[in-house]
């Protein structure tokens, strides 16, 4: 019997995961918007870097699509596979 990894245990909404909307479809993922210092010019910009961590299958073909998370609208600008079936999704404000 082939081994099939259960990614849902990483995406427990009683834990760190939350329900977001990806291209109008509800998806469970871990949403983070952590502080980041953007270095540009001589004066840095104190911003945040919004990301989603979720199942690759939920984000297949979703590059450029709209995400609603944490009450904000975002656009997917990068999808970075971790090689195990999960992806880090990079967002920018829509």
């Amino acid at each position: 019997m082939a081994f099939t990894e259960d990614f849902d245990i990483f995406l427990d909404t009683d834990g760190f995961a939350t329900t977001v909307t990806v291209d109008s479809v509800a998806v469970t993922a871990i949403f983070e918007s952590a502080w980041v210092e953007v270095t540009i010019g001589q004066t840095p910009y104190s911003g945040v870097k919004p990301t989603l961590f979720g199942k690759a299958s939920d984000f297949s073909g979703k590059f450029g699509k709209t995400v609603v998370a944490g009450g904000e609208n975002y656009t997917i600008i990068d999808i970075q596979p971790d090689g195990s079936g999960m992806v880090l999704v990079i967002l920018t404000e829509a």
Partner: protein
């Protein structure tokens, strides 16, 4: 009194305050970051950088120093659309305002725009851009008398 370089920086800050796009968001010698939830963008930062001094041979007795200081003026904006267009608009307003007062009420003998660079990044929650305008500002002082423009 203060060094003429300080007076020049103060004058440029005054000239650039109130422009249409950047309004009162003008910061001299700023080292602290712009805050993404603040209201300081679009904004301008200005600094003086390298200064060259030439001791005039014709005025060996009076010891006049011909100085040229680089003034760095940076226009910042964070926006999801029209970012580079806004940066160009900032540059247009800065260039127009500075040339309208190129002698800086008698402090300077002229200003040259040396060059412009644009840098964009998507590292934050929205694109951030800066347009860097480098000016050379010419002024004269007496040797040992850096607080009085000649």
């Amino acid at each position: 009194m203060s060094h003429v370089r300080t007076q020049i920086r103060d004058r440029v800050e005054t000239v650039l305050t109130g422009l249409t796009t950047t309004s009162t968001n003008v910061f001299a010698s700023r080292v602290h970051p712009f805050f993404n939830e603040g209201s300081e963008l679009p904004g301008l930062c200005l600094y003086t950088a390298t200064e060259e001094v030439e001791n005039s041979e014709e005025d060996a007795i009076s010891h006049i120093q011909k100085r040229s200081v680089l003034m760095i003026i940076e226009g910042y904006e964070a926006a999801t659309t029209m970012l580079e267009t806004t940066l160009d608009l900032i540059a247009a307003e800065v260039e127009t305002a500075l040339m309208a007062d190129q002698f800086l009420t008698g402090l300077s003998h002229g200003i040259d725009l040396v060059g412009t660079e644009i840098e964009l990044t998507g590292d934050g929650e929205k694109p951030v851009g800066v347009i860097v305008m480098i000016y050379r500002i010419y002024y004269l002082t007496g040797e040992g008398a850096p607080e009085m423009a000649l």
